[in-house]
């Protein structure tokens, strides 16, 4: 297992785009962790400073100031914390719920399996953001509610993925033989299914983090995210609209941050997919 990891890492290192993606993701983590030290105005991000409202980038304000006079650069850094928090917890919850459900549905046959997959189908029958809007709106705008809305709409992807992989393994003849001999499903799952599904799950998580960040930003843009003064990136863009086209930096900075971060996750995810699953030939998985 350790040598496999080393091989994966080495192959990944050869892919320049994936490496760039990894660097971006690490930079994001760094920004979030070290925000108080990297920010130029760490204590002033939620204060109101009317004198310095809507200043263009320059001088002490690296990316200008917003409508409250707060430094956008510093708010962005702290916003990175919000972004990561939302993305990681939402995707994590989706994995924790979705993967076991997929395993159960895949290993067993019958009512339970059908119910689980039907439930997944139903959740997937609505475009993710639309359902997330419905949930977030009912619950009210707050950080936990956004996370809940996102994870509630993301878990079916993992369930479907794991279900398909589990079924594929289960249908192999030697598994049928093992189970006919009385091996418990849990053992089959542990020994045979899990090693096979780890790779696609990792790829899906990486790409999912990027996608969740986009959806979270959209919810923030619509006012359904954590309320002010939390420096959430999507909400900042929504705030900026009134002041366009003059205060262009107000919209450009957070938007570009989102773009950079998501590209990072996407490149990393693509690179991981090429390395971990080079023989992916199933319909619906693009290869470059």
């Amino acid at each position: 297992m350790r040598s496999e990891l080393a091989l994966v890492l080495r192959k990944l290192a050869e892919d320049r785009l994936a490496l760039a993606g990894l660097l971006i993701v690490l930079a994001l983590l760094g920004c979030a962790l070290f925000a108080p030290w990297l920010a130029t105005h760490p204590d002033a991000i939620t204060e109101i400073d009317p004198v310095h409202r809507l200043r263009p980038p320059g001088g002490e304000y690296l990316m200008g100031t917003d409508r409250m006079g707060a430094d956008i650069y510093s708010r962005l850094l702290f916003g990175a914390r919000v972004t990561i928090l939302i993305a990681v917890i939402a995707v994590g919850a989706a994995v924790i719920v979705g993967v076991p459900l997929g395993l159960i549905a895949g290993i067993r046959d019958g009512v339970v399996s059908n119910v689980i997959m039907r439930l997944a189908d139903i959740f997937l029958a609505v475009p993710q953001i639309v359902l997330a809007i419905a949930i977030a709106q009912t619950l009210g705008p707050s950080l936990p509610n956004v996370i809940l809305a996102l994870s509630a709409t993301f878990w079916p992807w993992f369930t479907r993925l794991v279900y398909a992989e589990t079924r594929a393994v289960r249908n192999e003849t030697f598994i049928e033989a093992t189970m006919a001999l009385g091996a418990s499903p849990a053992r089959v799952v542990w020994l045979h299914v899990l090693p096979n599904i780890i790779s696609p799950i990792i790829v899906r998580i990486t790409l999912g983090l990027g996608f969740t960040i986009l959806t979270a930003a959209a919810l923030g843009f619509l006012g359904l995210g954590p309320p002010p003064p939390t420096p959430e990136w999507g909400r900042t863009i929504a705030e900026s609209r009134e002041y366009l086209p003059d205060a262009w930096w107000y919209a450009a900075a957070p938007g570009f941050a989102i773009f950079l971060v998501v590209i990072g996750f996407n490149m990393l995810g693509d690179g991981l997919r090429d390395v971990l699953d080079p023989r992916t030939r199933r319909a619906g998985r693009p290869r470059d």
Binding site: I122, A125, V126, Q137, G223, G255, F259
Partner: protein, 354 residues
């Protein structure tokens, strides 16, 4: 396609007469009905079970205690849940989604009036996505690793990373505010009379009314929202078409067709493309869902008076029922699109992949 008009039945019409295909289509439709019922149950859960007090939610923020209680009894929130669910279904089947707090009209009427705008935008975006996306994907695959390919790959990677609402704002800034080439938003300028409603799609109605100038104006207004909405979708379609073509390039039948000297354009655009498209077509269903979802923020930014715009306003007004009604409608549209895609895919590849 070899022109065999009437001389030899094409495969499509043979299939349309095959009962197996109809059985498949019917089964898919039945499946979808069940899914719709499930989605409705979910929205019921969202509106009736998640909130602490659904009556207060429905009554709105400014309602008094008595109004909330009266509403609770009126809307039957004090009855057992299952009865409420049954009632919910019953009303939904009749098309009753409740009343909008904001417009005080039945929500389904609100939605119906705004549906054409969203259809126009979504269909235009889908059209652009396919008409541009597929050929670009094909060319990118044929010229693998050329400068064209690199540019395409760069652009598609960006397309999937850019927030739709941000792209909308940027494009609005550049093309409408800065350059003034295209209008800022809306379907038509404020004082311009809309065409007589036949389909509700302004482009078509303008043409039907013979108003070419109006057609141009409507098209200009449609341009930015369509491009913004289509951008990520195009990225996906280009990627999948490219991958499908690269896959197909190595297939033995392609080598055989080339070995027998069949003209390149036939090998690529007729024989290879159909094989490459099977995975792309699956994506079209998902792309449609992304377009529907994306239309929410795009319509908001461009003041496009469609379903998404209605939903965003309802969010601002805390009009919960309206938002849920919107959710149900979008689900139904999405499900129908997926059925159509599945059935179409069967037509193209009757071998039937799982």
């Amino acid at each position: 396609m070899v022109n065999g008009k009437g001389r030899r039945p094409g495969r499509a019409s043979t299939l349309l007469r095959s009962s197996a295909w109809w059985a498949f289509a019917l089964r898919r439709l039945g499946w979808s009905l069940a899914t719709v019922a499930g989605v409705v149950a979910i929205t019921f859960l969202i509106s009736h079970i998640i909130p602490a007090d659904p009556a207060a939610l429905a009554a709105g923020e400014r309602a008094t205690h008595e109004q909330v209680e009266a509403l609770r009894h009126q809307l039957g929130f004090d009855r057992p849940l299952l009865t409420q669910l049954g009632d919910y279904y019953y009303r939904l089947v009749q098309g009753d989604l409740g009343k909008s707090l904001f417009t005080s009209r039945p929500i389904s009427a609100d939605l119906r009036s705004r549906l054409p705008a969203t259809i126009e935008l979504t269909v235009a975006a889908m059209f652009l996505t396919i008409v541009l996306g597929v050929p670009i994907g094909v060319l990118s695959a044929l010229r693998r690793n050329s400068w064209l390919d690199h540019v395409v790959r760069l652009v598609t990677v960006s397309g999937l990373a850019i927030a739709g609402f941000w792209l909308a704002i940027i494009l609005q800034l550049s093309f409408a505010m800065d350059l003034g080439w295209l209008p800022l938003g809306g379907r038509l300028p404020p004082d311009y009379p809309p065409p007589a409603t036949i389909t509700g799609l302004y482009l078509i109605d303008m043409l039907l009314a013979g108003d070419l100038h109006g057609f141009g104006v409507a098209a200009a207004h449609l341009a930015l929202p369509t491009v913004t909405l289509a951008f990520p979708a195009m990225a996906t379609i280009v990627r999948f078409t490219r991958a499908g073509m690269l896959d197909t390039l190595n297939k033995p039948f392609v080598q055989y067709e080339r070995a027998m000297g069949l003209p390149d354009s036939i090998v690529v655009w007729k024989y290879m493309l159909r094989n490459a498209l099977t995975s792309t077509i699956t994506q079209i269903g998902l792309v449609a869902g992304a377009l529907l979802g994306g239309s929410v923020v795009i319509e908001a930014v461009f003041d496009w008076p469609g379903l998404g715009y209605y939903a965003v306003n309802s969010i601002i007004m805390s009009d919960y029922n309206a938002v849920l009604g919107f959710t149900v409608w979008v689900a139904i549209i999405y499900i129908l699109i997926n059925v159509a895609v599945d059935v179409l895919q069967r037509l193209i590849d009757p071998r039937g992949t799982s």
